[in-house]
Amino acid sequence: MNIQVSADAVQWTLVGAVTDIPRQGARCVKRGDMTVAVFRTSDDRVFALEDKCPHKNGPLSQGIVHDGCVTCPLHNWVISLETGSAQGADEGQTASFPVKVEDGRIYLSL
């Protein structure tokens, strides 16, 4: 959300409703070999990251969501939902994708 991209460059795809995802939870969107994790925070913001931890490709969609971050289920790296960057002393970044929410519906630009 809140990502500015030049209007015509972006192709938005509807993936579902905000309420399909539990608060502080995530669901996956598949496209070919790639899986995208779509997160919903406790204040209903929505973010999309590739479902691959920068550490060892752990599935971030399965982690615990807290304070705009997700903790990877495999070795507990903390990844920012907004930027995909590892927090603290760890270094690495996961791809993040623009998200837009209209009328409670989630659109991604992949």
Partner: protein, 818 residues
């Protein structure tokens, strides 16, 4: 245009070159292609932390400095287990014993030291070890598993750490030391004596003035014979009598050798393209055996490898500390009785402390502290600065707190230190560096400071000082010394939180976070699972489990694997199964193409590699065959292992299988602070390993012995007896009550043995075994709570609960293909 990279080859992968590479990549990430040859078959690790690995306080993983990813990210080639056999300086090439060759532009020799082995008869027997690397520690742990007496030859730093570690692993330990007092190179006789008394009070047998004559044994070590004829039985001998710089390889290559590989102050050897760092190096006539000067070498060498530099190695005194939990000693500089030196000594026999400061021309040249070591750093500062102390000579020995202005507050001592006062000796980190990192990077935790500055990240003895600095810099935001908060979100400890949840009747996670003033809006991945457990356990039937605060395994009731698939373990009560159950498992494995079917260490079957989408249909089929979740993922009841018992076994005294099944039927579904594993053995032969379980039962003719507090994971320890009861019903009631007591008072992730250590075995016995009324009350509460817990999570999900977990939100594959 990209410049061709130069080739840097390093012989040895110890702590010195490890640090040198960090310094080198910090300065110039792209100048060198690096190849390392290491005789040890592993990555770089913190050798000085081998003693905590020996004693069981840490694992090898905890002490790794550079993991595989570190080398991969920097494109470093690491040849493990490849000892370099030859350096050809003319061809600029090294060759390993295994025949691997590498050419270099620059070479760094960092072969460290070799432990000295006294060539007494029998020194080659199996069971005689040195203390230098992980293999030695593994060897010692192997010997500990068999038990007996360990004889440690050498009462210096290493020998005493080995002795304390072996003692912690349950060995009987004798230390043999040739000299009249321990650690005579670092301690004077008085401090050596205090140390000996302390070790003896811990049950370590110390013999000074003991000269080893021979080691006896037929196929392995059996005894050690002293010069005076004394024989000491031994199943393990550890020689820690000193080290010798490993300079043979350099010598054969024709480099200049003295006591070690001779270098100038830039760490260049007699060949300007060859550097040497670490314990193998002799610089300015000195060789070293502690990491602080080696890290200085690492930095200087990195400077010169990455460009013209003025950096030069300068000798500095390194303080010595013994890393044995509960023993404080500190020594720095000289303390012999050389001419012109004066001693100032303070003894406090009551407190068992001893301080000695050695002066020459009114300047501090050495200090030895035992017991109370707080002032060590202050004396070391004066030693380094060469300050004239005549003005406060009279009060010098009382320490910094007694000097004008200081006050008795320990924090004031740290506050008064100069910015360039060294806090972390191992890493050479000064007060100013730490304070800057805290303020500039906004660090609020010890781990953060460790990650960014390395202070207290090596041997850890300066942790207290770093905490003091954090308190000074952050004020009330950081309360050092107070019991640590559960996580970075709160200063409340687990104990506080458990008490306050009950006292204030807090019944949801947001309520706890609000009422107990968490500093984060919604907690973190550490505290939320803990809070969720406390609420589940404290308010059965009322609290609604918060799935988003559970780790993924407990959310989807299967164990996540490294590739993102899951493993599924159905319950097999007491380890008993039937042909029908086995057929159903086989059918499921075929139908869902499950790649691996394994018998677990917990007497049941694990289906590994199940795709997340298949979990529900797999459970459906298993449910239909009458099986429920084995909770192999749960901080809760896992397994009850049994042996065949009186049904079949000629020694069985009771129906151990039947009792195990009853116990598992009673306990399944219960959430607990950490995982809970039981076993029932039919007789004291103990075939189901009851004596190392969280709770174990041993059947005897006259009834059942209830044991608990065993551990056989990261830590190994036998159980303690709770008491003996006459009937199966008593077993069920006592075990239920014990489990409930643990559930109500344990801290999240605290296994039973840690909980019992904290609460006290005697106390637990008085509540659960001696007091029948309390036993019954705990048991009743357990039964009540089980009403809400014994619902098969698989069946719930097959029926539709938490469906969002198991299906993707959308699959765009087709659209994208169009």
């Amino acid at each position: 245009m990209t410049q061709e990279k130069q080739r840097l080859v390093i012989v040895g992968n110890g702590m010195a070159p490890g640090r040198m590479l960090e310094e080198l990549f910090d300065r110039a990430p792209d100048v060198y292609d690096v190849t390392i040859f290491n005789a040890e078959p592993r990555v770089n690790y913190d050798r000085i932390m081998l003693s905590p690995v020996l004693s069981g306080e840490k694992t090898f993983e905890d002490i790794v400095i550079h993991d595989d990813a570190w080398y991969a990210e920097r494109g470093v080639t690491l040849h493990r287990g490849e000892k370099v056999a030859k350096i050809d300086r003319a061809a600029k090439m090294v060759t390993s014993e295994g025949g691997l060759a590498a050419s270099y532009d620059k070479l760094v020799i960092a072969t460290g030291s070799s432990p000295f082995i006294i060539p007494v008869p029998g020194h080659q027997l199996p069971g005689v070890l040195a203390y230098r690397d992980l293999d030695d520690v593994d060897g010692m742990l192997g010997a500990c598993a068999k038990g007996g007496r360990a004889v440690v030859i050498g009462g210096g730093l290493l020998g005493l750490e080995a002795a304390a570690g072996l003692k912690a692993q349950g060995m009987d330990v004798t230390v043999l030391h040739l000299m009249p007092t321990l650690m005579e190179r670092q301690l004077d006789a008085a401090a050596g004596y205090l140390l000996q008394r302390e070790l003896e009070s811990r049950g370590i047998d110390v013999r000074c003035g003991a000269n080893t004559k021979a080691i006896h044994g037929e196929t392995c070590v059996e005894a050690v014979e002293l010069e005076d004829g004394t024989m000491i039985d031994a199943s393990l001998v550890v020689m820690a009598v000193g080290i010798r710089p490993s300079a043979d390889l350099a010598k054969e290559a024709g480099l200049e050798i003295g006591r070690g590989i001779v270098t100038d102050a830039t760490l260049r050897t007699s060949d300007p393209d060859v550097f040497s760092v670490g314990e193998c190096t002799e610089v300015d006539g000195r060789v070293y055996g502690l990491v602080a000067p080696l890290y200085t070498m690492a930095k200087v060498a990195a400077e010169h490898l990455t460009g013209p530099s003025e950096a030069a190695f300068k000798h500095a005194e390194t303080p010595t500390k013994l890393k044995v939990t509960g023993i404080n000693l500190y020594s720095v500089g000289e303390f012999g009785d050389a001419e012109g030196t004066e001693d100032v000594v303070l003894r406090d026999a009551m407190r068992g402390t001893y301080k000695r400061v050695i002066l020459k021309d009114n300047k501090v040249i050495g200090a030895v502290l035992y017991g109370d070591v707080a002032d060590g750093m202050w004396y070391n500062e004066m030693l380094k600065s060469g300050e004239d102390v005549s003005e406060f000579r009279d009060t010098l020995i009382f320490g910094q707190a007694y000097q004008g202005g200081g006050g008795a507050d320990p924090l004031a001592i740290v506050a008064n230190l100069a910015d360039d006062a060294e806090i972390c000796g191992c890493n050479g980190i000064c007060k100013g560096d730490i304070v800057n990192a805290i303020t500039e990077k906004g660090l609020a935790s010890l781990d953060g400071v460790r990650a960014h500055t390395k202070a207290s990240a090596s041997c850890g003895t300066c942790t207290g000082l770093v905490e003091d600095l954090m308190t000074l810099t952050l004020g009330d935001d950081f309360a050092a010394g107070a019991p640590a908060g559960m996580c970075g979100c709160t200063t409340h400890s687990h104990g506080d939180v458990r008490r306050l949840i009950k006292a204030k009747e807090l019944k949801s996670i947001p309520e706890v976070i609000q009422e107990l003033e968490w500093t984060t809006p919604e907690g973190c991945a550490k505290c939320r699972p803990a809070l969720n457990y406390y609420l589940v356990s404290d308010w059965p039937g009322e609290y609604v489990d918060d799935m988003q605060s559970r780790f993924i395994n407990e959310r989807v009731h299967a164990n996540i694997q490294k590739d993102g698939t899951y493993s599924v373990v159905p319950r097999m009560f007491g380890g008993i199964t039937t042909p029908d159950e086995l057929r159903a498992i086989a059918d499921v494995a075929d139908k869902f193409e499950i790649p691996t079917v394994k018998v677990t260490g917990g007497q049941r079957i694990d289906l590994l590699g199940v795709k997340k989408e298949d979990l529900i249909p797999v459970w459906d089929d298993l449910n239909k065959a009458g099986m429920i979740s084995g909770a192999a993922y749960a901080k809760g009841l896992r397994t009850v292992k049994t042996c065949v018992g009186s049904d079949w076994c000629r020694f069985g005294t009771q129906d151990s299988t039947g009792l195990g099944i009853k116990l598992e039927q009673l306990l399944w579904g219960a959430w607990s602070p950490a995982k809970l594993k039981l076993a029932v053995s039919g007789c004291p032969r103990n075939c189901s390993e009851s004596t190392c379980k969280d709770i174990g039962i041993i059947c005897v003719d006259s009834g059942y012995e209830i044991l608990y507090g065993g551990a056989a994971g990261l830590h190994i320890q036998g159980t303690t007896m709770l008491g003996k009861v006459p009937t199966e019903q008593d077993v069920l009631e006592t075990v239920g009550a014990l489990t409930q007591y643990y559930r109500e008072t344990g801290y999240y992730l605290e296994r039973i043995y840690k909980w019992a250590d904290r609460i006290g075995y005697d106390h637990i016995k008085s509540v659960i075994y001696d007091d029948l009324e309390q036993r019954a009350a705990y048991f009743d509460r357990f039964i009540f709570s089980q009403k809400f817990a014994q619902i098969d999570p698989w069946a719930e999900r097959v029926a539709g609960a938490e469906a969002h977990e198991f299906a993707p939100l959308a699959d765009l594959t087709l659209e994208a293909a169009e």
